[in-house]
């Protein structure tokens, strides 16, 4: 029996009797990170990193859980589990599983570029690597984030000169804080949608430094928003919530903005190509760095990416059915699912 299996409930380790990121309620769940498609409600006991804990508990409320530090080994029924930085969002981890000399790594969602906020991605040697493939096609290749933030800053300054607010659609958990940490906050005031500010508050409480932001409430006047950078959830950018802005330019920050077609569909004024998932180059480099001979491809362009790994890289690669969703442009609760 394989060390990890893909069952109807999630990624299962039979030897230990635990699941990784299960999508149906189970007794014991090891969680890679706080996005809703990976950390779901209803498990009897959770295990995640200490820095992932505040947002997960904010989302799921009073759950039974334990936390671990990165690199710390937890033994369950003779199986060793350890969490290693995935660079996706604050607290995100790849979970290393070792049993009788065999090593698997379930990487959840990851990116290889250091965003300066999340714990930077660390490659972990293993025999079998479970990888996402949200952007697993060669047309997705990210620019350095420094360049993207220059574009966002320029756009903000231009809008400010035109008396407009700069509204940017981002996920409440992860992308919002990454944008906050990356923009030049000396340009002007920054306002946030309530759902985003709630997450900001959780993160500030755990000691993460973010620039000053003001929550948008009914008391905030239209004139206050002029020239401001406004972080909004993707769904808010298409709703009545927008009526408070007299003049605004709307941008979206997402890996999907790499395609002109996707940006047009969202009819945003600007698309900024910024993702918390690895691009084509990143996925391939990450896989190389693990030294793995077997690769399981979960969500995204699974069949294509697995075929590429088999045929062009000679790896034993296959796809697995999961209910992870990667980066969606179209949902936003408090997550990136």
């Amino acid at each position: 029996m394989a060390l990890l299996e893909f069952t109807e409930k999630g990624i299962y380790c039979a030897a230990a009797g635990v699941y990784i990121d299960p999508w149906r309620p189970v007794d014991r769940a090891l969680i890679t990170h706080g996005h809703a498609d990976h950390s779901r409600w209803g498990h009897k006991h959770y295990l995640f990193t200490r820095s992932a804990a505040p947002v997960i508990r904010h989302r799921l409320g009073n759950i039974r859980h334990d936390t671990v530090e990165y690199g710390e080994v937890t033994r369950i029924n003779g199986v060793s589990f350890s969490f290693h930085p995935a660079g996706h969002i604050v607290g995100s981890a790849q979970i290393r599983v070792e049993h009788k000399g065999e090593v698997w790594v379930a990487s959840g969602d990851y990116k290889v570029e250091d965003d300066g906020l999340s714990e930077a991605f660390e490659p972990v040697r293993c025999h079998t690597f479970i990888t996402e493939s949200t952007f697993g096609l060669p047309v997705y290749r990210w620019k350095q984030q420094k360049k993207v933030f220059t574009q966002i800053n320029e756009w903000w300054k231009q809008n400010q000169a035109d008396g407009k607010a700069s509204i940017i659609g981002v996920y409440a958990l992860g992308k919002a804080q990454r944008v906050l940490a990356g923009v030049d906050s000396s340009i002007g005031p920054i306002h946030t949608h309530g759902a985003i500010e709630n997450t900001n508050e959780v993160m500030r409480r755990q000691g993460i430094t973010l620039p000053k932001t003001t929550r948008i409430t009914r008391e905030v006047k239209a004139a206050d928003l002029e020239g401001s950078l406004v972080l909004a959830t993707p769904s808010a950018t298409g709703s009545n919530w927008m009526k408070r802005f007299k003049k605004a330019s709307v941008g979206i920050a997402s890996g999907w903005m790499a395609l002109r077609g996707t940006r047009r569909r969202r009819s945003a004024d600007r698309g900024f190509v910024l993702s918390d998932h690895a691009d084509w180059t990143g996925l391939n480099e990450a896989i190389t760095a693990t030294g793995a001979e077997r690769v399981v491809v979960t969500h995204g362009y699974t069949n294509l990416f697995a075929r590429y790994l088999r045929e062009e890289r000679g790896l034993d690669a296959w796809e697995a059915q999961t209910e992870y969703e990667g980066e969606s442009l179209d949902k936003d609760d408090d997550s990136e699912d």
């Binding site: 060669p138 047309v139 290749r141 790499a258 395609l259 996707t262 047009r264 069949n303 062009e312």
Partner: protein, 531 residues
């Protein structure tokens, strides 16, 4: 090229018409005459001749990127635009270029007669000195299809802003069979007397669809009604003893319709007629499909002329005795047209578009409902006093189409969309019941809102039965109302029918799968409506 690429980016970054006009006008003002003329040409679908086929471009791009061709093809399917897919896949450039737009167009034209290896080395050399946007533009110049949200109408507005010449005059000057190789910006755009080119058509006046009933249009006596035919909009010109037939796509199609050639002698010089080219036999129209097949043929054979003869159903007279009538009221133009067609010399290839008489709007409702009996698509409503305008305008001309045919069908396959909807499942195959089996009969990929597409995409993810490449079979669970404009027999489809313009009208969440329509229902429709 850098400036043109910048223009491309700016146009692409806004959805606001006025901003686009301003950007384009500013670019045109600053560009030199060669670049200006080529810009105008490209934005009116006059691209340079294709000198490299797209199969080669795909191979070269995949090779340069170090990926297998199948992976490139799959990526292209996701992106939806080959120029963009290539630009996104190529490795980083090794240099920069400072050449103009016209330089690169000449560069592309010069590839024409070269050996494949030489073509390859030149295209690769070009790619290597261009950034992402320049590559995108360069690829589009090679392949054509410059769809960047700039309609010809918008381009004309910008050109008008930049030259100070009014839009209608410019639209007229830009029509016809010109290319930047044979004219200059000065001659084509700035010089008066465009009528020297005897073939030049007038810009077509296009009607908007009437969404509500006609009651809001005012007094019925101010309007005329005609049947709306399902053919090809055409303009027939006789000047200086020569005949020209233009289709609405501004394509010169004279050679495709030998039936009209005798009109060069039968109509007086200086005559321009607007009408519908219609396949027509034994006193009634044939289906549009027949005409489409005929046009698709390279040669117009005797056999096809007998099988699918055409007529022009004339509904307007734009020029008479060499005089432009477009500023005259429709009523006056129509009188002259009736007189012209009433003359004994007129050919039987020219039919007058008959008026549908009415005095109350209610009478027209009835006529519209019965439209299919006449093999027509509905009605056209035109204001008697209307002048003939250029392009699609609201107010004086309306098309009032018959309601589509509909059928309730079960979704059985789903495929990812591409381009605009690359991350959603948008292309579906639908089936109807044949006893206990579901028989697929059509695909459809439009009609739902983005929100509905998102909902169904998430459902498809969770309810996939099998995958066949990009296609997933799904549990037969959802019923959709499919609307379509026509139905005909097909031997190529298992269901035995083919639909015209199928799309999703409604997601029938209220309807259980078992209550979807049957194959027999479809075949009954075929009997009633085929034509």
């Amino acid at each position: 090229m850098e400036r043109f690429a910048q223009l491309f980016t700016r146009l692409d970054q806004t959805t606001k018409i006025n901003t686009k006009v301003d950007e384009l006008a500013a670019y045109l003002k600053a560009a030199d005459d060669d670049d200006r003329l080529w810009t105008v040409a490209i934005l009116s679908s006059r691209r340079p001749k294709r000198t490299v086929n797209t199969t080669l471009l795909r191979q070269w791009a995949a090779e340069l990127a170090g990926i297998p061709l199948w992976l490139f093809e799959e990526s292209y399917h996701v992106v939806g635009d080959l120029s963009e897919a290539i630009a996104l896949t190529l490795p980083k450039p090794s240099g920069k270029n400072e050449q103009s737009l016209s330089y690169w167009i000449e560069y592309i034209k010069a590839l024409d007669k070269l050996e494949e290896a030489e073509k390859k080395s030149r295209v690769v050399a070009a790619w290597q000195q261009m950034d992402y946007t320049e590559r995108l533009v360069f690829n589009k110049l090679i392949m054509g299809g410059f769809r960047i949200g700039v309609s010809q109408k918008l381009m004309v507005r910008a050109l008008s802003k930049c030259t100070g010449i009014d839009e209608n005059t410019l639209a007229h000057r830009l029509m016809g069979d010109w290319t930047p190789d044979r004219t200059t910006f000065e001659d084509l755009i700035l010089t008066k007397d465009p009528l020297e080119d005897v073939s030049k058509p007038y810009p077509f006046y296009l009607a908007y669809a009437l969404e509500e009933g006609p009651e809001g249009l005012g007094a019925p006596e101010e309007w005329i009604a005609e049947r709306k035919w399902d053919g090809i909009r055409g303009q027939l010109i006789v000047r200086k003893g020569e005949l020209f037939v233009w289709s609405r796509g501004e394509e010169l199609v004279t050679d495709k319709f030998p039936e009209f050639h005798p009109l060069a002698e039968q109509l007086p010089d200086g005559t321009v007629i607007d009408g519908e080219i219609l396949p027509y036999k034994d006193g009634q129209p044939l289906s549009f499909n027949e005409l489409q097949t005929r046009i698709g043929r390279k040669n117009v054979t005797k056999k096809i002329l007998e099988k699918v003869p055409v007529v022009l159903v004339a509904y307007d007279l734009l020029e008479w005795e060499g005089e432009d009538l477009r500023e005259q009221p429709l009523e006056h133009r129509r009188k002259l047209l009736e007189k012209l067609l009433g003359q004994a010399t007129a050919s039987h290839q020219l039919l007058l578009s008959e008026l549908v008489p009415f005095s109350q709007w209610e009478e027209l409702e009835e006529e519209r409902r019965n439209a299919r009996q006449y093999h027509s698509e509905g009605l056209m409503l035109k204001k008697r006093a209307s002048v003939y305008r250029a392009g699609r305008r609201k107010g004086d001309w309306w098309k009032w189409k018959v309601d589509p045919l509909t059928i309730d069908a079960v979704m059985i396959y789903a495929q990812r969309g591409h381009g605009r909807r690359a991350n959603l499942y948008t292309d579906f195959t639908f089936a109807v019941w044949d006893e206990d089996a579901l028989v697929p009969f059509t695909k459809a990929y439009s009609g739902l809102t983005d929100k509905e597409f998102r909902e169904i995409t998430s459902w498809v993810h969770r309810n996939t039965l099998e995958r066949f490449g990009p296609v997933r079979s799904v549990e037969p669970k959802h019923v959709f109302e499919i609307a379509f404009e026509g139905i005909r027999k097909s031997t190529r489809h298992k269901s035995g029918v083919a639909l015209r313009f199928p799309r999703m009208l409604r997601w029938r969440k209220d309807k259980p799968v078992r209550e979807a329509n049957t194959l027999e229902d479809l075949h009954q429709m075929l009997e009633v409506y085929e034509g």
